[in-house]
């Protein structure tokens, strides 16, 4: 079993603060994904946890034991690299048994483990083949087998699928998930791909500029993010600036340039300046029948996206609003130029305090 606890972890490269007092915990057998804009410190975070980099400050505990001063090779972790980094001068077998060998395991034990892993990753390559003759996907599978061979149950993956083709990426994503579940590993998985994070992880940590902004279950992060930043970074959202006009027991009313919306969000004060976030896929749309009061406009653009269609609607006050409809729900019934009415359920109207730095700055990726 393995639990992880990170406290105030800080890493500075000269002036650059790559990690800024990061704290969080990972439960035993939990699959944690880390996402965030490029350069926000994801790699630095797991390099510090695994011991590849030494942090400037803070503490790291595996199973309650401090490991900060343990050298990399003694932390007993597995690490999967984006570069895959199979040893080019060793064949597949020697790559996978490298861990057991350098730990001084007897040969038959190493061989047994390697055999089991080959079975687990369901890979039909010859053991004497060299990495250069394998496909990217096969290489990364070997990379994972190699990381697991010496029996570690804490696995770090830094964009493990980043260097693979789209198709292989999706397949391998679920295989990795299965392996991790089957072996009962604790895993930390960095990715650029939100969909990948959502589909494999138990929880997702979203990072920005060296900090973890939010850490939660995927569904929660999507349907009800706690911060404006996450509402924008995870998925897509329409933002409307406005003011709280009325607060009742279970709803509040907001107004944005003459448009009134009601929301189930609580703990807002009347008169507070806020930002409303509405996800394009939580809006419904119908052809206009009345004279177009309230939430209405006309379709200016439509993009076919495959299973969904994305519409750009110009509201009465000329603001642009994005809507996404599944094709199967009659998405094709609309045309450019159509006058439409829009509606959103109060629970999908997310409200955030107006950020001190301004909306653009708050949403910026760095």
């Amino acid at each position: 079993m393995t639990t992880v606890k990170v406290e105030n972890l800080t890493k500075k490269y000269g002036e650059i603060v790559a990690l800024d007092k990061v704290s969080f915990e990972i439960k035993d057998k939990e699959y944690l994904a880390i996402i965030g804009p490029s350069g926000c410190g994801k790699t630095t975070l797991i390099k510090c946890m695994s011991g590849i980099q030494s942090p400037t400050g803070g503490d790291i505990y595996f199973d309650g034991k401090p490991v900060k001063d343990l050298p990399l090779e003694e932390r007993g972790i597995g690490y999967v690299f984006q570069e895959i980094a199979l040893f080019p001068h060793m064949n597949v077998w020697d790559n996978v048994t490298y861990g057991p060998r350098v730990k001084g395991w007897p040969g038959d034990r190493a061989a047994k483990v390697a055999r089991e892993l080959f079975e687990l990753i369901r890979l039909s390559v010859r053991e004497r083949e060299y990495p250069s003759s394998l496909s990217g996907g096969a290489r990364q599978k070997i990379g994972i087998a190699r990381a697991l061979a010496s029996g570690s149950d804490l696995l770090f993956l830094d964009e493990p699928l980043g260097s693979l083709d789209a198709k292989v990426r999706t397949e391998l994503r679920y295989e990795i998930q299965n392996i991790i579940r089957d072996l009962g590993l604790t895993a930390v998985h960095i990715t650029h791909d939100q969909e990948e994070a959502m589909s494999v992880a138990d929880r997702i940590a979203v990072m920005k500029a060296g900090r973890i902004v939010e850490i939660d279950e995927p569904s929660k992060l999507y349907s009800n993010p706690e911060t404006l930043f996450v509402s924008n970074f995870v998925g897509e959202a329409n933002f409307l600036e406005g003011i709280v006009t009325k607060v009742t027991d279970d709803t509040c009313l907001v107004e944005s340039q003459g448009l009134s919306l009601s929301s189930t969000e609580k703990s807002k004060r009347e008169g507070e300046k806020i930002v409303v976030a509405i996800r394009p896929d939580f809006v419904s749309m119908e052809k206009r029948v009345n004279n177009g009061e309230g939430f209405a406009g006309y379709i200016e653009n439509q993009d076919f996206e495959g299973s969904t269609i994305r519409y750009e609607v110009v509201l009465k006050d000329h603001r642009l609003f994005t809507i996404r409809l599944p094709q199967i729900l009659g998405g094709l019934a609309f045309n450019i130029g159509d006058e439409v009415n829009l509606s959103v359920k109060p629970e999908h109207v997310l409200i955030y305090p107006y950020p001190e730095v301004g909306v653009q700055k708050e949403l910026a990726l760095a």
């Binding site: 090779e73 570069e83 980094a85 080019p88 001068h89 490298y98 350098v102 990381a147 010496s150």
Partner: protein, 559 residues
């Protein structure tokens, strides 16, 4: 100003027809063929044919058992010294290179620069420096109050060769370690390997080709070195010194000289080929791991110990002995020798003459290289004759640095006297062209390699003729490298002793500076003592320094 632009126009007018001519594929083929023919007929064939021509002389020598025994032990000594020294250099140089690349401290740059010292000092001067340090009263022997800690002979030759091959190893390995992707080593460590285990089982095997070529370069240098070796050899004979002695006996003993040259040429080429082909297939003992033992050797204390030891070896055997070159020269400033030197009195007239000869020969050789070496570099990098021919050419190009230079000189001198009956100076220029050809072509090939071929293709699609592309794209983009390559050839040539000794008869009026200095150092009394010798050496060092300084400045401009 207008004059300049009109000159430019005239040149442009002259070159235009060449541009147009170059559009003709046959014209291009002829150009490359000429470069190729020059390479084969002037660089490749002469050294091989020369000794073969005189091969009838060998018979008599083989009848003389005493001579044969001497020749045999000299040749064996050469190969033994080269192998032992190169291995020791690898063992000592690798940790230093590792330490320079991996330790992140400012003062490492000092070590980095110091490691180049034996590189930038002409080898004769280095020989002198080592001689002074180890076996003369001004050096360590004086400090220990003994006459001579290590007298000239085998031991001193080893110390000398160790010092001048050391920077080769360090330079190559620093470059390789810098461009090595450390992710493999880190991957090994995440799997539980201690840093020593990871280095031994992952990094070094991946860098094996570099280790092999570093070893080969050190090996060839040691096999070839003549001038400095003559300075420290005393009565000891290795291959080059045997040839040198045969040459300088009156009359020259041609038979033994040809015999030893032939054997050295054949064996060095064979060994070079053997190691180049088999080296990369050599397996490191990577499989076996001693986890606990290697872990103990990986801890910070052991690492510190290893780095410390590497530095001490570097300081005692390389840096300090090399720096002693300046001491006798500095003494010369206090005892009036320097005045005599600048007035050109006595031996100094000959000295300045020899320095002039050195630079004239070097300039001529550089010019020859520019003319014929550059097209050859283009042929190699742009694979003008297909992949297989290119690989073959690449291997053949290294022959002139593989063969011990004095043997090369013997053979070339025999060849050119037999076929051209050229004046000595001309032979000397041709020999220096051959000796430096490899360095120049390889340096130019590296420079051209760095210019993407697409750039030339783009120019061609825009309507430029091949020659126009060449002079307006390739030349401007590589001009700094061409310039520094040229200066490198110049310094190499000025430094050359082995082949030069072979070409110039003992009685010859012409002398180059290093050849003259070898005689001075071996017999200081004949020229008025140690401070005259020291100053002579120092002047040679200074001229080389200036050349190298120019390279540095030029290369900095390029960046």
């Amino acid at each position: 100003m207008s004059n300049l632009s009109s000159t430019k126009n005239t040149i442009e007018k002259i070159l235009r027809p060449l541009d147009r001519l170059s559009a003709n594929p046959n014209a291009r083929r002829v150009t490359y063929a000429v470069a190729l023919i020059f390479f084969v007929s002037m660089i490749l064939i002469p050294p091989i044919i020369g000794v073969v021509l005189k091969w009838n002389l060998i018979g008599d020598t083989l009848q003389n058992p005493i001579l044969v025994a001497r020749a045999e032990s000299a040749i064996l000594a050469s190969f033994a010294i080269a192998s032992i020294v190169s291995i020791l250099d690898l063992i000592a140089g690798l940790p230093t290179a590792w330490f320079i690349v991996r330790r992140k401290a400012k003062w490492i740059n000092v070590v980095d620069t110091l490691a180049d010292i034996p590189f930038v000092i002409p080898t004769v001067a280095l020989g002198f420096s080592i001689l002074v340090f180890w076996s003369q009263p001004q050096g360590i022997s004086g400090l220990l109050r003994i006459e001579s800690l290590i007298s000239p002979g085998l031991g001193l030759i080893m110390l000398l060769h160790f010092a001048f091959s050391y920077p080769i190893i360090v330079r190559i390995m620093v470059g390789e370690l810098q461009s090595y992707d450390q992710v493999y080593e880190i991957a090994g460590r995440t799997l539980g390997a201690s840093s020593l285990t990871a280095a031994r089982t992952i990094t070094l095997p991946i860098l094996k080709p570099a280790l092999v070529s570093a070893f080969l370069l050190a090996f060839c240098r040691s096999l070839s070195e003549t001038g400095a070796t003559a300075v420290v050899a005393g009565a000891f004979e290795n291959g080059p010194i045997f040839i040198r002695n045969a040459l300088s006996s009156v009359p020259p003993q041609q038979g033994p000289m040809v015999l030893v040259s032939l054997v050295l040429i054949v064996t060095s080429c064979a060994i070079f080929a053997f190691i180049s082909i088999l080296g990369p297939r050599l397996r490191f003992p990577v499989k076996k791991v001693w986890p606990n033992f290697e872990k103990r050797l990986s801890n910070p204390k052991s690492t510190l110990g290893r780095d410390g030891l590497a530095l001490i070896v570097f300081a005692i055997f390389v840096a300090i002995p090399s720096l002693f070159v300046a001491l006798p020269g500095i003494i010369a400033f206090t005892d009036g020798t320097v005045v005599a030197a600048f007035t050109g009195a006595g031996v100094w007239g000959v000295y300045w003459g020899s320095l002039l000869t050195s630079y004239v020969v070097a300039l001529a050789a550089t010019l020859m290289n520019l003319l014929v070496g550059f097209p050859m570099a283009v042929i190699i990098t742009r694979r003008k004759f297909g992949t297989q021919v290119t690989a073959l050419l690449n291997a053949l190009i290294s022959i002139p640095i593989t063969i011990p230079s004095v043997a090369l000189g013997v053979s070339l001198s025999l060849f050119w006297t037999a076929f051209g009956n050229l004046p000595e100076l001309w032979t000397l220029i041709l020999v220096h062209t051959t000796i430096t050809y490899t360095y120049f072509v390889q340096a130019m090939a590296a420079a051209i390699e760095s210019v993407p071929e697409e750039l030339e293709s783009v120019a061609r699609t825009l309507g430029a003729h091949p020659f126009e592309t060449f002079r307006k794209i390739l030349i401007p983009l590589t001009k700094y490298s061409i310039f520094s390559g040229a200066i490198m050839v110049l310094t190499r040539s000025v430094d050359e002793t082995g082949a030069t000794t072979a070409v110039l008869a003992a009685t010859s009026q012409i002398k180059t500076a290093p050849v003259l200095l070898v005689n001075w150092i071996r017999n200081p009394a004949s020229v008025g003592g140690q401070s005259v010798v020291g100053l002579g050496v120092l002047f040679l060092v200074l001229t080389t320094f200036i050349s190298l300084l120019v390279i540095r400045l030029v290369l900095r401009r390029e960046r």
